[in-house]
Amino acid sequence: MYKSFRVKNFRCFKDLQINDLGRVNLIAGKNNTGKTALMEAMLVLTKPLTPQILFDLHETRGLKDSGQDRRDVWQQFFFGRDTSLDIDIRGNDDAFNGRIRHLAVAEHATEKEILEHIGQYVQQAKQLGLISEGTIDIRGASLLSFSFDLPNSQTERLKVYLPSKSDMPVYTNILFDQSSAFIPAQGRPSAEWIRDNFSALDLNGDLPQLIDFLSIFETRLSDLRLLSLSGDLTIWGRVNSHQIPLKMMGEGVNRFCNFAISMIAENPKYLFIDEIENGIHYSVQKDVWKAIGQVARDLNIQVFATTHSYEMIESAHEAFKDNDPYDFRFHRLNRRSDSDEHEIEAVTYNEAGVGAFVRSGYEVRG
């Protein structure tokens, strides 16, 4: 579980620091203050030597990769698209031998830099059998390096490279990956994702737990099944004596179903949910938070979610205030009007802070 987090030169963040992270974290702020970007940075740190993650995130934003030059995509992850400054991401993870998990991402675009690093890149690609001797042409290309501090060493770092040319192979090292899941604000998971995870959940005997969760929305729900009708693989629920496709029960039920499946079946160490309030009526928000909090504690998952909804903050406080310890934190991202670059800063509200604004109705959404 991350206790604190710091990110430099990533997306809209020049230097953002968040301390006092909780088990469940809700992030709010005005538009374009980096709520989603903060979760992206955290996600990148969970896959420190998997360059492909940048392209997955690019796609999650609804953007297409031209497939020509990878640099077009990776530039967008640098603060002000300025690739001369390294991206630096650090997380104080209590599961990481009490050390800081540290990733540095740097672009090597000059000929001198390329020559300095190309040897390592070629060696990595050869080790994987991705290329053979003499088949690589780096002219006009640039490299993006991902350097990750080894957990058991104070000085050693592991590096992988992402070349800009799309026909050049990418080396990935998943040895230091942490399991994580990202649920975007819009869109539904693929049929394959639902099939695999629902089946795993069913096989492990966890279906009753999922039914319990979804009962928050539909108290009459008694059973869930994965059915393939006319080639369409869908979850169906039994409500009274009728079988109803889950898709018919509304956006909120389906999104929450995805959160729950992800938490129980995928059991990620970190779960990121963008715009958690989407489709969730205020009357069930407290129960949704209670359910998320309970599973997060039981399965040791750290949850991060973004919101624009005051009611979500209020209901989270109501859901968590009786829990000892109070393991909810609210983080507000502000764009500083007193700095030249309108830097973004994070303000963290602990139990006292969240309680104070909920009692007084003070405007904290940003």
Partner: protein
């Protein structure tokens, strides 16, 4: 909601507990031509003042714009109310978000300066803070007791005292905490010449707040009464940043 209570257009704010306090300082500000130069936040009680102090410092964008925050608290039965306000400021500094400094230590993102003396604003850089305890720093009571001091010079007050001294002889007892408020109520009834003058302007209007509407109040230049000099200097300090102890 704070959208109604806190006007963030002001870079100077006066935090008070209740409606009577708000009315008193608003009317005094009107007399001093200070209206529109600071906001008055009616917090709704002492606990809420603590909450609002934490809310304001957590609202970093607004906090950085603030020049001066003045806090008015009723002493009530508390003989060390000034220390309790200092504790509230320290509490906000303790609970506010922290940042790691170069040495790896966590420090508050922003801090309230804590005044060392009743009525006297902090020195250094903005935002300044200042505290006024009513009716006085070592006294018990509230705003009513403070206003009462000015009324006691009026010859009508001896009649009010006689009346309240008579009450126990007919078996009526008034709680000590309520006495000043009740005395002012009786005093007002003796000053009302025109019955229409006593009609509440709105349902929130309370007894003490009615007194400033009386013709008698203006005729006797009550705002210039020496007993209100602390409050006057306190507002001048808030609006003009002239330290309390530097004013004549």
């Amino acid at each position: 909601m704070s959208g109604d209570r806190i006007d963030k257009d002001f870079d100077r704010q006066l935090l008070v507990e209740g409606f009577d306090d708000k009315t008193f300082f608003d009317q005094l500000a009107k007399h001093l031509s200070y209206r529109g130069k600071f906001g008055i936040i009616e917090c709704g009680g002492w606990t809420q003042i603590r909450d609002d102090l934490l809310n304001m410092i957590s609202d970093t964008e607004y906090f950085r714009k603030l020049q001066h925050i003045a806090i008015v608290r009723d002493a009530d039965r508390n003989t060390d109310a000034f220390s309790s306000v200092k504790s509230a400021l320290e509490y906000a500094n303790r609970e506010v978000s922290k940042l790691e400094n170069e040495g790896g230590e966590l420090q508050p993102l922003l801090e309230y300066p804590v005044p060392v003396q009743h009525l006297v604003m902090t020195s250094g850089s903005p935002p300044y803070t200042s505290v006024m305890i009513l009716p006085g720093v070592d006294e018990r009571g509230a705003l009513e007791n403070y206003v009462k001091k000015a009324l006691m010079c009026d010859q009508l007050w001896s009649c009010v005292e006689d009346y309240f001294n008579c009450l126990p002889t007919v078996g009526i007892s008034i709680e000590e905490d309520r006495r000043a408020k009740s005395e002012i109520g009786v005093f007002i009834s003796g000053k009302v010449v025109d019955p229409d003058e006593a009609k509440p302007a709105d349902t929130r209007r309370k007894l003490l707040s009615d007194i400033y509407r009386l013709k008698w109040w203006d005729d006797n230049n009550m705002w210039d009464d020496d007993n209100f000099s602390d409050a006057t200097k306190f507002l001048k300090q808030l609006v003009e940043d002239i330290p309390f102890d530097a004013q004549a």
